[in-house]
Amino acid sequence: MSDATPRKAISTGADWDFDLIETYDAAIADIARNEYGLDTYRNQIEIITAEQMLDAYASTGLPVGYPHWSYGKEFIRNEQLYRTGQQGLAYEIVINSDPCIAYLMEENTMAMQALVIAHACYGHNSFFKGNHLFKQWTVPDAIIEYLHFARRYVMACEERHGADAVESMLDSCHALMSHGVDRYHRPAPLSLKAEAARLKEREAYAEKQFNDLWRTLPKTERPVEAKVQERYPAEPQENLLYFIEKNAPNMEPWQRELVRIVRKLAQYFYPQGQTKVMNEGWATFWHYTLLTRLHEKGLVTDGFMLEILKSHTNVIFQPPFDAKYYSGINPYALGYAMFTDLRRICEKPTAEDKQFFPQLAGSDWKKSLDFAMRNFKDESFIAQYLSPKLIRDFRLFAIADHESQSDLGVDSIHDEAGYKRVRKLLASQHSFEERVPDVQIQRYSRDGDRSLTLQYKLHRGRPLSEAAAEVLKHVRFLWGFPVKLEYLGPNDNVLETRQVA
């Protein structure tokens, strides 16, 4: 496959400099765009130190963040792990923004920098730009601006209302972060100008409403007339933070704004949580493909390629379930294997593939991969594309853990009868519903005691974890009035009610 005229390698040796990085970047960009047609945002490559990498870790990769103790905890944890040698640092961090910001660590060798550029600047970047979840839920050209706004706002609040008041607000909002996203409809796009205008309006309203005379009115003890109560909200609400922001009876405007900020952040991370396998798989597939091509063109040396392959194989290693260091299915491994397999199915389909994927076998692999990248999330991607061959390669098997039985059962394995079942289970294992319990707001007794009722419908009999009691306290704090949590059984009968008065 190699070109007729082997060219001279761009560099030899481990050292990098800025010119070299630019040369490599240009070479990789050339292959990515012109040979494989990857469509990306512009790239902004930033060289940082290990210490800065630790900082970036703590703020979940975001370049700007508001101050909060939980980031400090995260920082301390990572720092400790790093210092005691239990954990290395990631080679890169990439931010879903336009331009797409990628951090490269200065300690990396030239080969590693090239790997990271291929992985982050062309792999992740094209995924951010192409995947439908990212397109719908995030606004990459506004996120950095918004983060700056959030930071300034939180700090201004701290100055005005005290760090403790802000901290307890944020604590409570963070507890509900996973329930602060519109799962099904696309949120309004972010824009700094609109945010500022909305903020002003909110303040103006508060000022207009203020009249000191109200304070002097004597309190009457008129009994509340029992009206025919409309049900409110009309439909159960899944976005708890949104509902609280809009409806909490006694919340100050600045508190509502903090709820909103946390909500917006949760929304920004929402697609990432649902496309871990795809996103990492896509980026890994492309760094492998792009760098291999670079090698074929004679632009890099064999030594360079060996170093790349060494870290590549580390990244896609999947330990078996009974290994000491097993910690779940490695999204890099699964994702990479799936995209590679997808290409294989397109190029060299077997009889089995033709049976399982009639529409894919023999198609143009670039188009098929592109389609997969754009239109799926982990759950549907696995359900759609996990091939029997991969199930065999990974030796996947499903375990059933049913409370009613004293032991675990092997539900299905990598055999003819089990392929579809294993695939279905692995897919649902990656669904949002499996990870985040479906807690919804059922009633807000607007005309009564203003209490809020949440409902959790037991998902296959699985109860909420013990932390739920703590979370409920946070909801109570945000809401300002009593909060109830009802557990619903299979027939929508209330099994249990927990209350924080």
Binding site: F18, E22, D25, A29, N43, Q44, I45, E46, I47, T49, Q52, S59, H68, W69, S70, Y71, G72, K73, F75, I76, Q80, R83, P99, E106, H174, A175, L176, M177, Q318, P319, P320, F321, D322, K324, S327, G328, I329, F394, R395, L396, A398, I399, A400, D401, E403, D407, L408, V410, I413, H414, G418, Q429, V436, P437, G461, R462, P463, L464, A467, V471
Partner: protein, 419 residues
């Protein structure tokens, strides 16, 4: 199209503020940890960071999640021998097979306090204003050092070389013109002599004699030439200090009081280490009699008996004379609950005034009272008189940790005004 930015210089420590937030939030726990470290550490090791363990559940951030129970399936990689329908006993602790094994090693969240953070919390506890870096008062040792030359001085300091150099220079400067003039006159005389101008010869001869006379009359040494080696006295900090820790270990001193005393001693020690290169510690404990012990025994060993303060003071004086007589800054810190009887308080106060205070740079006494309002002891009453008369004596009653720092406040207030 692509930007490459070097961010390496644009500052680390983005997380510093978050780290501080974290410490602030868990202040109680961190303080408790620091307190424990203070208890375990030697005074000399106090000045470094340490590791803090926080229970994981204390710092957890709750969110809605699934608990144990109900029905679920999960997919695992790496099947070896299982076939559909196999039954596997539940691993201990229920849950899925993958969660077992990651047991108790993770129960607590461990992190290191830096030296600064440790000291901050340590001092914070003592309600210490940010004075820790203030330099202690001047020292009274001087060293005579060479400082060039002066025109006045004792004959013993005369610098012969410098003086003669000056003399030579002066004689060249003053004599050069005369010599030249004399040479001219001599040449003229020669010519006059050859030409036979009689009166000229006589006049020139007289002139020559006068000039030669002037030259020889130039003094070999003049007051002006004298140079003396100059010496000035420079205050020389004595780089060594010895700190005597005196503590009453009679039965009434319980662990709580000893902990208080330890902080008190530590504080003085830390101040001293900022000032002196070498600080030695002498631990003297006393009941009815005093003995010199090592630090561990000092703080942790119990001994019962009565109280004779004087014994400790005498012991200190003996040790000082024997080992620290010259070239040492002597500091002393005494901790006691003040239970002294009979003539002992009065004798101790007198001994302190006459024998110890004159030789000591600073003497701090702390009386560990059960509560600050309880009535003062006999020893306190006697010492109180001393405090009025001596600047280098400070005393304070302390029932809680925050009472300790003010003992040193006077010392720092004084040096601050001196500066």
């Amino acid at each position: 199209m692509n930007h490459l930015i070097d961010r390496r210089l644009s500052g680390k420590g983005k997380s510093t503020v978050n780290r501080e937030r974290f410490l602030r939030r868990y202040k109680t726990q961190v303080r408790a940890a620091v307190k424990q470290m203070v208890g375990e550490r030697s005074i000399k090791d106090m000045d470094r960071g340490g590791e803090v363990h926080l229970p994981k559940k204390d710092i957890a951030e709750p969110s809605f999640g699934f608990g144990r129970g109900g029905e679920r399936e999960f997919v695992l990689p790496g099947n070896k021998e299982y076939v559909t329908g196999d039954r596997i006993p539940r691993p201990k602790g229920g849950g899925g097979g993958n969660e077992a094994g990651s047991g108790d090693a993770q129960d607590s969240f461990v992190f290191s306090l830096s030296r600064e953070e440790f000291m901050h919390i340590f001092f914070d506890d003592l309600e210490l204003p940010r004075l820790a870096r203030t330099v202690l008062g001047t020292t009274d040792q001087f060293k005579s050092i060479r400082a060039g030359y002066t025109t006045q001085g004792a004959p013993a300091n005369l610098s012969v070389y410098r003086t003669l150099t000056n003399s030579l220079g002066r004689r060249i400067a003053l004599g050069g013109a005369i010599k030249q003039k004399a040479a001219e006159v001599e040449a003229e005389l020669e010519r006059a002599f050859h030409e036979g101008r009689g009166e000229d010869v006589a006049r020139l001869e007289a002139e020559l004699t006068r000039l030669r006379g002037r030259h020889t009359k130039l003094p070999f040494l003049e007051e002006l030439d004298l140079r003396y080696r100059n010496r000035v006295l420079r205050p020389e900090p004595v780089a060594r200090a010895v700190m005597f820790c005196l503590m009453d270990v009679s039965a009434s001193m319980d662990e709580e009081k000893k902990d208080l005393a330890k902080r008190f001693f530590t504080l003085l020690y830390l101040f001293l280490t900022r000032k002196y290169k070498q600080v030695e510690l002498v631990f003297i404990r006393h009941t009815e009699e005093a003995e010199e012990v090592d630090e561990n025994t000092f703080f942790h060993d119990t001994k019962s008996g009565g109280t004779v303060v004087l014994s400790a003071l005498e012991m200190m004086d003996t040790v000082r004379r024997a080992r620290y007589a010259e070239g040492w800054n002597v500091y002393a810190a005494q901790a006691s609950d003040g239970d002294a009887f009979g003539s002992d308080p009065a004798k101790s106060a007198r001994f302190l005034r006459e024998m110890i205070l004159p030789m000591t740079r600073y003497y701090a006494y702390i009386e560990l009272a059960p509560e600050i309002t309880s009535h003062a002891s006999n020893l306190w009453a006697e010492y109180e008189v001393l405090a009025g008369q001596n600047e280098n004596f400070a005393m304070r009653r302390a029932a809680r940790r925050e009472d300790i720092y003010p003992v040193f406040r006077d010392l720092f207030a004084k040096t601050a005004t001196q500066k």
